[in-house]
C-alpha cells in the first residue's frame, strides 16, 4: 500500500461544482467532487444514472454541453488547471494526453467513413504524421487491440463490425494520440458478457503495456471489482465513499454503498433483495443535509439537516455519513450483506 501511495498524482480534481441551466431551473449535477488519479492505477467511479459521474469526466475532458457551467473547483493536470483552459489550449490535451472511450461505440464512430481512415485521422491530427506513416501505425494499433485480418478490416465501415469489434476500434482511436490517461465511460455496458470480459481484458492489457492511468466509469459492481484499484461511489453529485477496492467491497461504511452492494443478486443469493425505496433526488432542488437521507433506513435526524463531511476510516478510506461520527449510535451493515461479504472472503481463500 505504501508503495502505491508514493506514486505521483497525475490528475487531481478539487471541489468541482458543475451546474446546468435548464427550463426547469438550475440542475446541480456535480457538487464538490474531489478525487485524484495516481500514475498507473485504475480509479473507478460508480453510481446510478444522474449521479454526476459522466458530468465529472466531461468536465475533465472539456466537453461539457453549452448550458453547463463549472461553478467552482479545479482540475489539476500537468501543472495546468483544466477548468481555465481555452478551447484552443484543450486541443493539445484532449485525445493526445487524455483519451476517452465512450459507452456506445456505434455513435462514437463516423458511419460513412472507413474505420482505418478514422484511426488515421486521429493520428494525423494528434501526431502530425504523414499519411503513409499514419496508415502503418493504424494497422499496428488495430492489431494491438486484437482485430484479426487488419488489412481487409482497415477498409470496412463501422456497420460491418460487431459491437465488441467496434469498441476495439474506438479504443484504437483513443490510443492513437498516445495518451497517458485513459477515461472509460461505461465502455462495456452495451456489450454481451463474453464480449465484455474480452474488452475488459484488453483494457487491462494495454494499461499495463503503455503504463496508462485509467478512470473507469460504470454502474456494474462486478466490472469495478475486475478493474479498479480504488473506488469512488457517487450519489446525487457527490462522492459518498472512497477507498481501495477491498475496503469498499469488504468494509463498506456508507448506507448507500451497503444498498448498492446488496441490491443486486449474485449467484448464491436466495434471500429477498435489499431494495432502496424511492428514486434518486431531483437535482434542481437537492434535499438539505445528506441527499440520500430520504431513502436511507439508517438516517439520523442530523442527516436531514446538515450535510455530512467525509469521515476518515483509514488513510485511504473515507465515507460521508453521520453514522461515522463519534457520537452517532452504532449501526451495523445489514445482516444479508454481512453474510455475503463473509461468503466472498471465503471464496477468495478457497481459490488460493
Amino acid at each position: 500500500m505504501a508503495e502505491r501511495d508514493k506514486r505521483d498524482v497525475i490528475l487531481q480534481v478539487k471541489d468541482l461544482n458543475v451546474s446546468f441551466r435548464t427550463y426547469g431551473g438550475i440542475v446541480r449535477a456535480v457538487r464538490g467532487v474531489t478525487f485524484d488519479l495516481r500514475r498507473g492505477e485504475t480509479v473507478a467511479i460508480v453510481g446510478e444514472s444522474g449521479s454526476g459521474k459522466s458530468v465529472t469526466i466531461k468536465a475533465i475532458m472539456g466537453i461539457l454541453p453549452s448550458n453547463a457551467t463549472i461553478e467552482s473547483g479545479e482540475i489539476l493536470y500537468g501543472g495546468m488547471d483544466l477548468t481555465k483552459l481555452t478551447e484552443e489550449e484543450f486541443h493539445n490535451i484532449r485525445g493526445k494526453r487524455i483519451g476517452l472511450i465512450f459507452q456506445d461505440p456505434l455513435s462514437a464512430l463516423n458511419p460513412i467513413m472507413k474505420v482505418g481512415n478514422q484511426i488515421m485521422e486521429a493520428l494525423i491530427l494528434s501526431q502530425k504524421m504523414s499519411k503513409k506513416a499514419a496508415r502503418q501505425r493504424a494497422l499496428e494499433l488495430m492489431e494491438a487491440v486484437g482485430i484479426p485480418d487488419v488489412e481487409r478490416r482497415f477498409n470496412q465501415y463501422p456497420f460491418q463490425f460487431s459491437g465488441g469489434m467496434r469498441q476495439r476500434i474506438v479504443i484504437a482511436i483513443a490510443l492513437a494520440g498516445d495518451p497517458e490517461i485513459l477515461i472509460c465511460d461505461e465502455p462495456t455496458t452495451a456489450l454481451d458478457v463474453t464480449v465484455q470480459a474480452r474488452i475488459l481484458e484488453l483494457i487491462n492489457k494495454i494499461k499495463e503495456e503503455r503504463h496508462l492511468s485509467v478512470i473507469f466509469i460504470t454502474h456494474d459492481l462486478g466490472v469495478v471489482a475486475t478493474m479498479a484499484d480504488r473506488v469512488n461511489v457517487m450519489y446525487a453529485g457527490k462522492i459518498v465513499e472512497t477507498g481501495t477496492s477491498e475496503e469498499v467491497f469488504f468494509e463498506p461504511a456508507h448506507p448507500y454503498t451497503w444498498a448498492l452492494l446488496s441490491s443486486m443478486p449474485d449467484l448464491e443469493t436466495k434471500e429477498r433483495l435489499f431494495s432502496i425505496p424511492g428514486t434518486p433526488p431531483n437535482m434542481i432542488s437537492p434535499p438539505p443535509g445528506d441527499a440520500f437521507s430520504v431513502r436511507n433506513r439508517y438516517a439520523l435526524r442530523i442527516d436531514f439537516e446538515k450535510e455530512p463531511p467525509l469521515f476518515k476510516i483509514t488513510d485511504t478510506h473515507y465515507a460521508a455519513t453521520w453514522l461515522l461520527h463519534p457520537k452517532a449510535p452504532r449501526v451495523e451493515m445489514p445482516e444479508a450483506l454481512k453474510t455475503r461479504i463473509e461468503r466472498m472472503r471465503r471464496r477468495a481463500v478457497g481459490n488460493e
Binding site: V193, E201, T226, L267, A348
Partner: protein, 321 residues
C-alpha cells in the same frame, strides 16, 4: 399430444427469417428446433447473448411472430396453428407480456388508466367505474397509487413505467407471463425493486413466468429452471443450482466464466473460458440432440459427448461425498 405436466410446452419450434430472393436469399434461423416445457407456477429463465433468438422465441410463443414449423401447446391446447379470432382471444386471456423498454412499450398519448384498462375493455368490460376500480387496485398492487391513474407515461421514471407495464400485463389475470428483459433497462437500485415486486406478484397470483434476460445472476436468482440459448438453439436446460454447479455444455461454461464477480479478491484471477463450436464439437460422424444427462438436466450433444458428460457428473457426485 402434449404432456400434461407442463402448462406451456414447446416442441421443435422453428422461426426463420428470410430476406432477399434468388441467389441473394438469406435465411436466418433465429429459433431453430427448440423444445422445452414450463410447469405450472414455475419460472423458466432463458439466457443467452444478444442475437441468440431468446426474444424471438418469446414472441413466437405469444404469436407476435408466426412459427415457421413446430408446435406450441398451452394447457394442452395447440396455440401454434392457424390464427383465428377465437385463438387470439384465448392467447391474450392466458398469456401476457412484459417488455424490456418501458418507454417504447407504453403509448405516450394514453393515460395510465387507459393503458392498464385497455385489456379489460378488449375483454368486454364496459362499466367505466368497474374498470377504474380494478385499475386502481392493480396500481396499488404494483406499488403506485390512485393519483397516478390520470397521468401520462412521460411523467414517470423508468422503474415506475416498468411497474405500469407489469400492471397492464396482470390486470387480465393471465395464467402466464412472458417477461422479456424486464429489468435490464433500469438502474441497479430500481432493478432490485422491480425484481422484488415480480417475486411478490408471482407468489400472490401463482404465476407461471417465462423470464428472458441476459444477466445471469438475475436469472439465477429469479428462476427455478434455466435454458441456455446459443445461435437459435437451446444448448442446455437444467435446474438453476445444477446449471451453475455443473455446467456441461462448453458454451454454458464460457458464459458462466465471463460473469464479472463483484469480489475484488477473485475477479482478477478469474480464468475465462472461450467457446468455439468448430473446435469444441466434432459433429461430422455423430449427430447431436437433446440428451437427459441427469434427471432434469438436458444438454444438446452427441452420444460420445453425452457419455463424457455423464462421467463428469458421476465424478462430481463422488467428490461431493
Amino acid at each position: 399430444m402434449s404432456d400434461s405436466t407442463y402448462l406451456l410446452e414447446v416442441k421443435n419450434l422453428c422461426r426463420h427469417f428470410t430476406s432477399g430472393r434468388g441467389k441473394n436469399k438469406l435465411v436466418v434461423k433465429a429459433v431453430d428446433n427448440v423444445s422445452f416445457g414450463v410447469k405450472p407456477a414455475e419460472t423458466f429463465g432463458l439466457v443467452g447473448e444478444s442475437g441468440c433468438g431468446k426474444t424471438t422465441l418469446g414472441r413466437t410463443i405469444i404469436r407476435l411472430y408466426d412459427p415457421t414449423s413446430g408446435q406450441v401447446f398451452f394447457n394442452g391446447r395447440e396455440i401454434s396453428g392457424k390464427m383465428t379470432g377465437e385463438l387470439r382471444r384465448y392467447l391474450t386471456e392466458n398469456i401476457a407480456m412484459i417488455f424490456q423498454d418501458p418507454i417504447e412499450s407504453l403509448n405516450p398519448r394514453m393515460t395510465v388508466e387507459e393503458i392498464i384498462g385497455e385489456g379489460l375493455k378488449v375483454r368486454g368490460v364496459k362499466d367505466k367505474a368497474e374498470i377504474r376500480r380494478r385499475v386502481v387496485e392493480m396500481l396499488k398492487k404494483v406499488g403506485l397509487n390512485e393519483e397516478h391513474a390520470t397521468r401520462y407515461p412521460h411523467e414517470f421514471s423508468g422503474g415506475q413505467r416498468q411497474r405500469i407495464g407489469i400492471a397492464r400485463a396482470l390486470i387480465v389475470q393471465p395464467k402466464m407471463i412472458i417477461a422479456d428483459e424486464p429489468v435490464s433497462a433500469l438502474d441497479v437500485s430500481i432493478q432490485a425493486q422491480v425484481i422484488n415486486l415480480l417475486n411478490d406478484l408471482k407468489e400472490e397470483f401463482g404465476l407461471t413466468i417465462l423470464f428472458i434476460a441476459h444477466n445471469l445472476s438475475v436469472v439465477k436468482y429469479f428462476s427455478d429452471r434455466i435454458g441456455v440459448m446459443y445461435y437459435g438453439r437451446l444448448v442446455e436446460v437444467a435446474r438453476g443450482e445444477d446449471l451453475y454447479a455443473k455446467p456441461l455444455h462448453p458454451y454454458t461454461r464460457a458464459l458462466l466464466s465471463a460473469i464479472p464477480e463483484p469480489n475484488p479478491l477473485t475477479a482478477r484471477n478469474k480464468k475465462r473460458l472461450d467457446y468455439d463450436p468448430e473446435r469444441d464439437h466434432d459433429y461430422s460422424r455423430e449427430k447431436p440432440e437433446m440428451v437427459e444427462i441427469e434427471p432434469e438436466h438436458f444438454v444438446y450433444c452427441s452420444p460420445s459427448e453425452a457419455a463424457r458428460y455423464r462421467e463428469i457428473c458421476r465424478s462430481a457426485v463422488k467428490a461431493g461425498d
